[in-house]
Symmetry: C2
Subunit: 237 residues, 2 copies
DNA sequence: ACCTGAACACCGTTCAAGT
DNA sequence: ACCTGAACACCGTTCAAGT
């Protein structure tokens, strides 16, 4: 038999036409991009925690060390996965005419992108690389801030505030109350609260939970309004 | 020799005075509270990730299975650690006279408590149990919201917004740019950005980083102001 | 250049057994 | 009631070796 070498492009260098001996460590035909794609697939399908070097290796029918040869180590793999996702994430359109509307729209774009790809965002967040993922969206936000007359350190602060809010709403969205362990669900904790200073109806409302998407967008508007006023057209100030 | 049993209170039940044979699995004198305290110590000293069942066991000079006997499993241990910390965290005083000031003060108290004990907060967050840690501070915030005339679902939303912001600023504070891997530091990423829509000075400012504490308190004020107006004394509305 | 096998130092968890 | 020892099924990572 002529060995089961996969049909990738052969004849890389000046290879002599020796008939190959029975290979024990034979070529798998893997390339770095295949490894990264497989990793991205695992993360999107099963979450950031499901990505392990061994799991990835077995998925590709290869040894763990092969993964290391291609990508270095886990962190470098994660960076590559995040960069790969970033390529796909084009800049979303910004809506509105007035300055505040447009800045808010750019902020909401970051939020929607983050929940839209929450698994990869969680992965990026685990190594502190969310900026790598959403850089074009962050630049777009800065651009709208500039148009609204907010620049320099004020623009930097506005961006940081928006990103913090997005991150905050994300982590509450990652762990929905349903799959929290018994006794840790907010509904249970709050239903046991009795305090003379707080009315029953408020406590009941808190125990009930809220619509995260709506609240995130509202909160982002409040944050944005702190940097660019509602009356709008004060470009160049 | 009379065995090296620790000097805890003996004579639990009606024990017959038999001289103990050479003990292979002898009593360690451990109690659940000792396990939880040791775990809290590890977390405070070395962070949430440093807490492992094996590490904890060896710290206590005991087998891993002993830890399981006392606390159940890792998650239950974490809950116990968080509850233990919660006991220590008394309610912080609220400052200001006007309603918005007081609500903001209550929100800032949550933020300060969280960064003040960031390791335990990170541990609580890892199982979605931050409410368990800061419940009294959250109740205090609700109380101030009620005093300001914000109740029911509006109070619930205000609380959720504040908690999201606190969580967001926390996770950016957890992983300071300094100990991020080469090439992932915002300063490096941003210094490579060139975009016609954004001025150089703004990009430079973003690359520079900001004062998180100041910004967190400012952002919390913006969020609070969205629910309780600045003019203040509209109690009961 | 590309890949395997064995090994090291970790994890959380369970189970039977000892006193 | 309290604790040990062995085991199972996982991790990330490295190193020497094979073709």
């Amino acid at each position: 038999m002529l060995s089961g070498v996969p049909s990738t492009t052969r004849a890389r260098s000046g290879a002599d036409p020796v008939t190959a001996a029975a290979p024990t460590a034979r070529r798998a035909g893997l390339e770095r991009v295949d490894v990264v794609d497989a990793a991205l697939g695992i993360v999107e399908a099963e979450g950031a925690d499901a990505l392990s070097m061994r799991r990835l290796a077995s998925e590709l029918g290869v040894t763990t060390t092969t993964i290391y040869w291609h990508v270095g180590n886990r962190e470098q793999l994660v960076v590559a996965v995040v960069e790969r996702m970033a390529e796909r994430l084009g800049a979303a359109p910004i809506r509105g005419r007035r300055a505040q509307q447009r800045v808010h729209s750019a902020a909401v774009n970051i939020w929607r992108s983050a929940i839209g790809h929450r698994n990869v965002t969680a992965l990026a967040s685990s190594i502190g690389a969310t900026t790598l993922l959403e850089l074009p969206l962050e630049v777009a936000l800065l651009a709208e801030l500039e148009r609204a007359g907010v620049r320099g350190t004020r623009a930097r602060d506005a961006l940081a505030s928006v990103l913090a809010c997005v991150a905050g709403f994300l982590i509450t969205a990652w762990r929905p109350p349903e799959d929290r362990p018994e006794g840790l669900r907010p509904s249970q904790i709050w239903s046991a609260v009795e305090d003379a200073r707080v009315s029953r109806s408020t406590v009941r409302a808190v125990a009930g939970g809220t619509d995260l998407d709506r609240l995130a967008e509202r909160t982002l508007l409040a944050v944005v309004a702190d940097y660019v006023p509602a009356d709008g057209a004060d470009e160049e100030r």
